[in-house]
Symmetry: C2
Subunit: 135 residues, 2 copies
């Protein structure tokens, strides 16, 4: 009823408030095994792929690596990464990130700056965590 | 302010309202490649592993398959699956599911009935989708 705090509803956070900032990125010429090792050591599912100057050019996930396993293994992530990568900006509302994830049935978005350089990562884990803390 | 609808805050859904019911489960003696194929064909990341009588005994994810790639490949999922699997019940509030995901840094929970049989799956994608639809 009316005695409940409405904080959560009123101040909806932005992507920048929720994202993780320590993102591991990779170049497209690394072997699939190397990408797999990075995913395992970091306990995450997604690796943004960047050009030499740090611009986002793709994404590779544990799912893509499973795909390589399912179909005989290509040697470089360039062969299996997704090039039409969706991304989001720091100052965008989390609802927009959530909608983008939902629309494309994906679970993470690289956060990019104006030069398309990767500055963070926002995942459905970050967003569902907001529900965990709500009461 | 006070003119905002409070619906979302008042009627919080249960796991059963949000989970997916068409879950693919596997036995522990299938090869890793077969698990990878199921994950790819279903577009999901998590496969609950069940005993012959349908009880939950583990979980295998795209992440575990990446781990197999990173470390030389074992032949059966029994060798790489996680046996201490966290699960949730149909009638539990989604906040509990969200907290369990958060606490263990995982992104999906099998939903089990009283006999520990798998009846659904709830993921951080399902939960973040709730934010997408909020306004
Ligand atoms: C720490 S998570 C990180 C990667 C990914 N987000 C995921 O959920 O698999 C990876 C490990 O968690 C395990 N895992 C995933 N869901 C689980 C669950 N419901 N209960 C127990 N372990 C789980 C996987 O088997 C894998 O070994």
């Amino acid at each position: 009823g009316s005695s409940r705090p409405m904080k959560q509803t009123k101040e909806s956070p932005n992507v920048g408030d929720v994202m993780s900032r320590d993102v591991v990125t990779v170049f497209e010429d690394i072997p699939v095994e190397k990408a797999a090792k990075l995913i395992i050591s970091g306990s995450f599912d997604h690796l943004p792929v960047v050009s030499r100057d740090g611009r986002l050019i793709g994404i590779i996930t544990a799912w893509d690596i499973s795909k390589a396993v399912a179909s005989g293994k290509p040697s470089r992530i360039a062969e299996i990464m997704t090039r039409r990568v969706h991304s989001v900006r720091l100052d965008e509302p989390i609802e927009l990130a959530a909608r983008t994830l939902d629309t494309h049935s994906i679970s993470a978005l690289p956060v990019v700056d104006r030069e398309h350089k990767v500055i963070g990562m926002i995942t459905s884990n970050h967003l569902s965590r907001l529900l965990a803390r709500r009461r």
